[in-house]
Symmetry: D2
Subunit: 351 residues, 4 copies
């Protein structure tokens, strides 16, 4: 099979680097263009402050950084880990010019004709794309991926909602440094500390999960009724957001069934054996003290793509549950999650 050509916009940033790391030797994609802002015209290897691994993959080091403009990009599909403040208009420009745009930015996430996807949860929302193209008069289209914290939460809520019904969810997060990008959080601010605030994060989690678990028709996506309350905290870990979840269910539950529902959850990407789909989207650990970010961040058959769950127990009654989850924020929660969606889209011939 001929590989699809993909571009990575804003490739010098932290998530941009993660994209390149994951797209190295990808069986379906080949990186044809990388774009930047201040680094345009430079060799990528000279422009980037590479921090996600020891060395820049050699196939990218010598590529020239292009401006983030449709006319300068040669690709079948565009990944956009652009910063929020520029993503909005840039992504529209690319979609208008005919590119399928896979966005990690928040700019278009909450628009009713833009799918906000987790590959195992709501691929059906792609049905609004035709309407998106039609009403916006675009040749291409925009598909968005959720905030990193949302991804772990919504993925775990999906099988529980299906099986037990959910009333409301209270989530407390302990989020990793890489979630803030680079340079991001100053060491002087977070060392020996917890910072109980991440700008706009709680709002994103609360609204995005509802949309993802919502229903769609041909024209738009309608959010679910699920009530979510989030409290977000930054802690001094490198990668891997930990989330402590308390939720109430419509039906009584027994813990073994809950564990079973999570552990056996599987969806379209697994059936299609997409390259970035982990065998188990959700891994449940039995130890009392797991998941832990450092030990579990690369869990699963595709490192960093499985959400790890542990300490499943009842809350105040048998219609409430509490447990901890851990999601690799820059892999499943960003570049990896979006690449998985792109694999589906390409495989389905939507590109």
């Amino acid at each position: 099979m001929k590989k699809a050509k993909v571009a990575v916009l804003g490739a010098t940033g932290m998530v941009g680097q993660q994209y390149l790391k994951l797209l190295q030797n990808h069986p379906m994609f080949t990186v044809s263009t990388i774009t930047g802002d201040k680094s345009v015209g430079k060799r990528y290897g000279d422009a980037v402050n590479w921090i996600v691994s020891e060395n820049i993959p050699s196939e990218f080091a010598d590529m020239e950084v292009q401006p983030t403009k449709p006319s300068r990009v040669d690709a079948d599909l565009v990944f956009s880990p652009l910063p929020s403040e520029v993503a909005g208009s840039a992504e529209e420009e690319f979609a208008k010019s005919g590119f399928p745009v896979m966005s990690d930015a928040s700019a278009h996430r909450m628009e009713p004709d833009v799918p906000l996807l987790i590959a195992e949860v709501n691929l059906g929302h792609l049905s609004v794309i035709e309407e998106q193209k039609r009403s916006r008069k675009w040749d291409g289209f925009i598909v968005t991926s959720p905030n990193c914290t949302t991804v772990g939460l919504a993925l775990v809520l999906k099988p529980l909602a299906d099986k037990f019904g959910l009333n409301h969810v209270i989530v407390n997060t302990m989020q990793a440094l890489s979630g803030a990008g680079f340079p991001g959080v100053p060491a002087l601010a977070i060392h020996d500390n917890v910072i109980p605030y991440i700008e706009n994060e709680e709002e994103k989690v609360e609204t995005e999960v509802s949309k993802i678990l919502g229903s769609q028709n041909k024209k738009m996506i309608a959010p679910s009724e699920l009530a979510i309350s989030a409290s977000c905290h930054r802690v001094a870990t490198l990668d891997g957001h930990f989330e402590s979840i308390y939720l109430t269910t419509e039906k009584d539950t027994v813990i073994t069934s809950v564990t079973e529902a999570l552990r056996t959850f599987s969806s379209i990407p697994q059936q299609m054996k997409l390259p970035t789909a982990p065998t188990q989207p959700i891994i449940v650990r039995d130890e009392v003290d797991r998941p832990q970010p450092r030990l579990d961040r690369y869990a699963g058959s595709v490192p960093g793509m499985s959400v790890v769950v542990g300490r499943i127990r009842h809350g105040l009654d048998s219609k409430s549950l509490k447990f901890g989850i851990m999601v690799h924020n820059t892999i499943r929660g960003a570049a990896g999650g979006t690449i998985l969606i792109a694999e589906y889209i390409v495989e389905k011939g939507m590109v």
Copy 2:
């Protein structure tokens, strides 16, 4: 006024060290005896691995470590930061021998005739002491202090329960290293990590808060009906437990009244101007990103004795609240909190 003579049992441990640091130049107390286990007979300065500050206060360095036996202790009152496994029987022995025992251990906390106190919250529970002495045939008595996490939580719930009525509380903690004592948590376990489990901690928080907020008669203390669900996590901070609280109230609330209720909370220790009583037991900060353990752990007029609260906002509706609190776990949550109770007891002539 003549100072009361106090003994510190198990004085080489971490909380023992914190006691000595706080009892330096105390206006009401003078340390007459310090006890230990393996270090008996040694000079305290040689026996202890002093880690709570630069130097051992010189007045203690030359004291000889005594065995933890009533016959070897010359004191009006005894502080017991003994490890749980030995505290139970040792404290009973001291109480039997006529000593008022102020315990930080969990051994006797949940017994119905033993007060579990926070000085600003439930000094009334001291009424069971006569019954405790009578039924146990003790000349002395035991008064206990709660688990460090409980202290911060119950202190903050008190004014809210009084003013708005509480239905249930969901608390998520991010607890400091010093809560586990020394050596405690291995660096290899917690570095770049979150550990979502602290043995027995959740059970302690859930039962202790209910007892503290309960009612008493002359004979025993009856727990309150308040339902509490705790999830406890260890993070890499030195001191200061952070707790994220979600609770439901009986009445609708407005945030300004909640803030007011917390900020103006004051109680008997403040009225009596006890030396270790902070002017404000609860400090409310208005910044969006406070409290933070490193910045706020020594907050207040008596460093480490005030609980700091921030980000007060509604949860899912106007009968729910969420906010973060920070309590210095070895000061207000252990040695300092217990010293404050002892000041009351001595001032009231109960010793």
Copy 3:
């Protein structure tokens, strides 16, 4: 005695904050003006991201930030913790306008007619000030303080040079985060890491120590012959630079005499009992594992003003020594060290 009016230039920065913290209730100085750049016209409390302690001292919170211009400053003496790139010309402007300028910046440090001072080491270098004023046609003058790493090193070398003669010095540093200012080092860069490079730091240490230990005549300061080789590293500590020193002496040494020479070192600030002068400029600890930044950073009679030394032992022969030192980089190594010099200058009537 009437207090001298002092201004703090660039008062919103990290060292600027440390100045204000130390100048609170200072017996000789009162802060009359604080200046800034982007924050001009704002209330200081609103302009600053205060990170050096829980709260901004209330006497400064309501002051209005002034532009860094001589005409807007009302002061007998000016402290300049300005960033290097603007310090050079700004400080000259102030000196020209008649202000005595106490600078922490590197701009003028190595000029032969500008004293580079440590209060206990080389106050004699102030003799070049007359020539500085004359030749530069200034009414005021500039006195500089060394780089934070230099301060600890030179202070400890002084008594050793005097007593044993020094040939060469090899120093390896493990420097704290606050040395890079705020935001400074990204957490993502230093977490779980050592960074073996600090821009320009090694050059500063090597040249500044020589100048400080050099000799002066009325016209200029001549560097000493002492050869110094520095390797500087950043580690994840908040405050307190640790330095591992290896040096060769002209004479054979015995360890007890070396310890004695360091421990008994005392100088003019101690004799004059200046308010910021610690009783012991150098504290020697006997434990095998000290000094440690976290335990020793506030050592001494004036917290943070003593350099702590430990593990004094021979190197390859009896004409070589090795030991570790710890200096609080933003107190003795910046604001505190400079305030001590200012106290001398004011006390001597040079202002």
Copy 4:
């Protein structure tokens, strides 16, 4: 080729775990026995507190832990990461019983008839084995691996000694937490801190490097004359010892030749293409701020087996050099380095 059967003694410890991780799917070895102490009789998966990766390799989880006794071990060769206090006699017992013993313990390292090996540096020292067996009347033999800090240092000194001649070496280390095993360093001790002392470490480095660079005859190994002075520090990194080296050479050097000598260094394991031999034993990086433990700990063609060097520059004159190195302490500095030696021994038919 039939795989050699190997035993791992003390397999529940930290280095024991690293052995098993590296011996998974090893092309020359198959693990036939694992031994322990308190865990004897248990399933390995139940006995171990596995901390070196997400999961215990499944082929080991179900093995039964055997006592550390020759009669209970079925193997062609024995790896001994035993704790020092028991290693001495246990290893002798195994050698006496005919086993080739590959030891990571310090017990026998400095005995003149016991090789202390780094595979790329001094395999020639194996010539004393015959004498060792003869004089000790053993059917087996003991070969030792150096301390983790020594490994990195001696490996880098070897090509420099050969090409430029070395006079003396001053090394300052910043060592990782895993070097102290588990539980090892308490988080409360090292958090926000540097500990300038590691028991016996400096002595080991100073004597071991001399022996490794020494010469041998058929009967014994004679240490080299090279004088080494070490200062060892613990910092808060997980893996990867950083070492700052200052050395004097017999000849003048130019930096490009030094770089060349290190970068092109290659030895017997590379020629023999042993499975654990990295293509480049020494990797030189050109960036000003490398090596860094977090970025470089898994450098090279066999992750963790290459020592990374950077910032090569002159010291006080052209006969002195300074640079930083980073060695993965539990891979190249322990399990990996010893496995590489074992590969040589087996390949050469010495087993």
